[in-house]
C-alpha cells in the first residue's frame, strides 16, 4: 500500500510537524545551514554564467511552448522511441502506472529491482505497490536508500535525507549494515553502503529510472545523477523501465544545452551533474520500456491559474531558498513534494488533504526569484489559498475570525472602538493574561507596547492644524 493510500485523507499538519522539528535545534539548525549553503552555491554559479536571467526566461518560454503543444510533442516522442526499439506505455494515473510496471515485471519473472531516484515513482507509491506484490525493490541513490531504510519519504527532491545528521546515518547503518554506530565518518559509511549495494546491482533482474528530460526529436530520455547509479541500472540488468511524467518533454536535443545549464546550477551549484545519461534504445539483447504518466497533469494543464507548475524541472532551488522549508524539514509537509513546489503541486492531487500547505508559507516570494523556469510559485501559493477558502476548507484557526475582522475593518467607528479595546487590554491587563498558552504570539515574542494615543486621535488634535 502506498504512503498516499495508507495515510488516507486526514489533512496534513505542517505547522505542528515543523514545530517538532524546530524543537530539536541540532537538526533544525544544521538543516538550515546546509540547505542555505546550496542556495549560496546556486547564487555563485548563477553569477558566473553570463545572461543567467535571460536563460531563465528562454527556458520558461521553451517549457510554455512545449506544454501548449504537448499532444504533438508526445506523439513525436512516442514515434521516435518506437522507431528506436523502445516499448512505450501510457498510464492515465498512478494505478495504471503501477499495474503496467507490475505486468512487465511479471512477464519477465522479475524478483529484484534496482531503481534510481524518481519523484514520479514516489508520487505513484510504486515501491510499496511492487513490494506488496512480492517484488523486492532496492533504492540505489544513497539518500533514497537511507530514506528507504528509515521508512520515510524523501524530505527533499534532490537531497532526500538532508534532514538527517551524520550521526543519525551511523545509527541507521549500524542497525541495517552492522557498522560501528559510533563511527559517522562519511567515507566509512559510504563504503559500507557500496559494499552492501554492489551484490544487489549484480543480482537485480530489472532496473528502473525516472527521467529529467524526454526529447521529442530523438525519442530519448536524459537522466541526471551525481552518483552514477542510474547508469548501473541502465547497463547491468537486461530489462530497464523508465517512468516519465508527460510534462518532462522538450522539443529538441539542442534544448538540453539550455536546461542542463540551469538544472544542476540551480540545484546544488555545480555546472553539471556528475553523470548525464542519454538513453535512446535498448542494448542488444535487452529491453527498454518507457511508461508515460499523466496522473492529473492534463487536469493541471487545463487550469488557467495553475498550469505553469508543469514547467518544473525538479531542481529543488525553491526548497533551498525557502526560509520556511529550511526551518521545517521536508517531512513536515506530509506529502510527496515538499517546500514551495510541494505547496503548489500537492493540493493539485488532493486539496482537502493538503489544504494546510498553502498556509505554510510567509509568502516572501524568494522561490519565484530562483526558479530556473520562472514559475510564479508564490503567486500560485496565494491563489491556492483562495481556492481553499472559497470551498470553505479554511481550518478553524485560520478562518474563524476573518468575516468578523472584515466587518470591523469595513466600518471606521467599529474599527476605532475595537482598536481602543485592544490597546487598553495591552496597557492594563496583567502580563500573564496576554502571555498565555492560547496566545501563540507570546510563546516566543513580547506583545507590542500600547501607545498613549492612536495616530488618528493625534491627528484629530494636532495634525489637522497643518492641513
Amino acid at each position: 500500500m502506498s504512503l498516499w493510500q495508507s495515510e488516507a485523507s486526514r489533512p496534513v499538519e505542517p505547522e505542528a510537524a515543523a514545530a517538532r522539528f524546530i524543537n530539536d535545534p541540532k537538526h533544525e539548525e544544521t538543516h538550515d545551514r546546509l540547505v542555505w549553503g546550496m542556495r549560496t552555491k546556486r547564487d555563485q554559479a548563477a553569477s558566473l554564467l553570463p545572461h543567467w536571467e535571460e536563460l531563465r526566461e528562454v527556458a520558461s518560454q521553451v517549457k510554455e511552448h512545449t506544454l501548449t503543444h504537448l499532444d504533438q510533442y508526445l506523439q513525436q516522442f512516442e514515434n521516435n522511441a518506437l522507431a528506436n526499439g523502445v516499448k512505450v506505455h501510457w498510464a492515465r494515473d498512478a494505478a495504471e502506472h503501477n499495474n503496467t510496471v507490475l505486468r512487465i515485471f511479471e512477464e519477465h519473472g522479475v524478483k529484484l529491482v534496482i531503481k534510481s531516484k524518481s519523484m514520479l515513482q514516489e508520487e505513484c507509491g510504486m515501491t510499496e505497490f511492487l513490494i506488496a506484490h512480492g517484488i523486492t525493490v532496492r533504492e540505489s541513490d544513497l539518500g533514497e536508500r537511507i530514506q528507504q531504510l528509515s521508512k520515510e519519504r524523501p524530505s527533499h527532491i534532490v537531497v532526500p535525507s538532508i534532514h538527517k545528521l551524520r550521526t543519525d546515518i551511523a545509527e541507521l547503518f549500524a542497525e541495517h549494515l552492522h557498522t560501528d554506530p559510533h563511527n559517522s565518518d562519511p567515507h566509512y559509511l559510504a563504503e559500507a553502503m557500496r559494499n552492501d549495494a554492489r551484490p544487489q546491482f549484480l543480482a537485480a533482474d530489472a532496473a528502473m529510472t525516472g527521467a529529467n528530460f524526454a526529447v521529442a526529436e530523438t525519442g530519448g530520455i536524459v537522466v541526471c545523477t551525481n552518483e552514477g547509479n542510474a547508469d548501473i541500472g541502465a547497463t547491468v540488468p537486461s530489462l530497464l523501465v523508465s517512468s516519465i511524467g508527460i510534462e518532462k518533454l522538450i522539443p529538441r536535443a539542442s534544448d538540453l544545452g539550455l536546461f542542463l545549464r540551469l538544472l544542476s546550477r540551480s540545484a546544488l551549484g555545480p555546472p553539471m551533474t556528475q553523470y548525464t545519461t542519454h538513453l535512446h534504445r535498448p542494448r542488444p539483447g535487452t529491453e527498454l520500456h518507457f511508461v508515460l504518466v499523466d496522473n492529473k497533469r492534463s487536469e493541471r494543464l487545463a487550469s488557467p491559474d495553475f498550469w505553469h507548475v508543469l514547467k518544473c524541472i525538479r531542481c529543488g532551488a525553491c526548497m533551498n531558498t525557502c526560509p520556511v522549508y529550511r526551518r521545517s524539514g521536508g517531512l513536515a509537509y506530509g506529502a510527496t513534494y515538499s517546500g514551495p513546489i510541494g505547496i503548489i503541486l500537492d493540493p493539485g492531487f488532493d486539496h482537502r488533504k493538503y489544504r494546510e500547505l498553502p498556509f505554510h508559507s510567509s509568502l516572501c516570494g524568494s522561490c519565484t526569484e530562483v526558479c530556473p523556469v520562472k514559475i510564479d510559485i508564490s503567486n500560485q501559493i496565494y491563489k491556492w489559498r483562495r481556492v481553499i477558502a472559497s470551498e470553505g476548507l479554511l481550518p478553524a484557526i485560520k478562518g474563524a475570525g476573518l468575516p468578523v475582522l472584515g466587518d470591523v475593518l469595513a466600518h471606521p467607528a467599529v474599527f476605532h472602538a475595537a482598536e481602543a479595546i485592544g490597546i487598553a487590554s495591552i496597557a492594563h491587563l496583567p502580563h500573564k493574561v496576554l502571555d498565555n498558552p492560547l496566545n501563540p504570539w507570546t510563546r516566543h515574542r513580547e506583545m507590542p507596547g500600547a501607545p498613549s494615543q492612536t495616530f488618528h486621535a493625534w491627528y484629530e488634535k494636532e495634525g489637522k492644524k497643518h492641513e
Binding site: E15, A18, A19, I22, W36, D43, S47, W52, E53, T321, P323, V324, R327, P358, F359, H360, S362, L363, C364, G365, S366, T368, E369, Y382, W384, R385, R386, A389, S390, L394, G399, L402, L405, G406, D407, L409, A410, H411, P412, F415, E419, I423, P440, W441, R443, H444, R445, E446, P448, A450, P451, Q453, T454, F455, H456, A457, Y459, E460, G463, H466
Partner: protein
C-alpha cells in the same frame, strides 16, 4: 501636490509616531497632506488568508476613502503591495482601479517620484541593519532581490539613507531573508515564524547593528517582540522616523 496619507491600521493602533514622521516629512518637502478620517485597513489580513469574501467590503471602503486623491502615500511596502497587486476582492470600478494605481509606498514616492530630493538635514549616528521587507524587495522591487544574478545592484532605501549623517549600514549574512512575520502566518505558524525572526535578529546582532530599520512596521512589530523576549541589545525604527529625525516614541 496634494497627497492623501494612507496610515495602515497597525501603524494607527501601535505606532502613531511612524504616522507622524511620515506626515511631517511629506509636509517638510512642501506637500499638502490630508489624512482621510474614515480609513481603516487595505483588506490584506483577510485576503492573505484567501478569504476574498471577508476582505471585499474593507477593500471597497479603502478605495472610497481615497477616491479624491491623485496621489496616495503610505509608509508600508506590504500594504501598498497588496493594494497594487491583490486588491481585487471588491468590484473593480474605474474608481477602484484609479485608486490602486495612485497608491505609492513612501520610499518609492521619495526615490522615484520626487527623484530622491534633498531632505531636511538630519543625523542618525548609529549602526543600522537594513530590513527591507519581502513585499518591498520582491514585490515592489525597491531593492534588487539577492536571488537575481543580473547587474546593476540597487537599493532605493539605501539611496535615501545616504543623506543621513552618521548613519552606517552594516552588512548581513543573508541580506534579504524573510523575517518570518507573514501576517497571520506569525500566529498560525508560530514556531517557524519565531525561529525565522530569531535567526534574522541574530544576523543583525552578529554584525554589530544597534538598530533594525525598515519601511515596514509589520516586520518590526514581530522582530521587536523577539528581541525584547531575547533581551538583545537592538532597537527597531521605521525609515520614515530616521529620514524625518523622529519622533522616535
Amino acid at each position: 501636490m496634494k497627497i492623501g496619507l494612507f496610515i495602515p491600521c497597525y501603524i494607527d493602533a501601535f505606532f502613531p509616531q511612524v504616522g507622524i514622521a511620515t506626515l511631517e516629512l511629506l509636509q517638510r518637502l512642501g506637500h499638502q497632506v490630508e489624512c482621510p478620517r474614515g480609513q481603516t485597513c487595505c483588506g490584506q489580513p483577510m485576503a492573505n488568508s484567501g478569504d476574498q469574501h471577508a476582505s471585499s467590503e474593507t477593500e471597497a471602503h479603502f478605495a472610497a476613502c481615497f477616491r479624491d486623491y491623485e496621489t496616495i502615500v503610505g509608509p508600508s511596502g506590504s500594504c501598498v503591495h497588496h493594494i497594487r497587486y491583490h486588491l481585487d476582492a471588491c468590484e473593480q470600478t474605474p474608481e477602484v482601479v484609479r485608486v490602486r494605481k495612485a497608491v505609492r509606498e513612501l520610499i518609492e514616492f521619495l526615490h522615484d517620484d520626487l527623484q530622491n530630493p534633498p531632505l531636511p538635514p538630519v543625523e542618525f549616528p548609529h549602526k543600522v541593519g537594513l530590513h527591507n521587507s519581502c513585499a518591498a524587495v520582491r514585490g515592489l522591487r525597491q531593492e534588487q532581490p539577492s536571488e537575481i544574478a543580473a547587474a546593476p545592484r540597487y537599493s532605493k532605501s539605501q539611496d535615501l539613507l545616504k543623506q543621513v549623517k552618521g548613519l552606517q549600514i552594516v552588512p548581513m549574512d543573508r541580506p534579504d531573508e524573510c523575517c518570518g512575520f507573514g501576517g497571520s502566518f506569525s500566529v498560525t505558524d508560530e514556531a517557524v515564524s519565531s525561529k525565522m525572526g530569531l535567526d534574522r535578529s541574530s544576523d543583525f546582532l552578529r554584525h554589530g547593528a544597534e538598530y533594525i530599520a525598515s519601511g515596514d512596521m509589520s516586520c518590526l512589530i514581530h522582530l521587536r517582540g523577539i528581541i525584547e523576549r531575547q533581551k538583545m541589545p537592538l532597537k527597531v525604527v521605521h525609515i520614515a522616523q530616521i529620514l524625518n529625525g523622529g519622533p522616535f516614541a
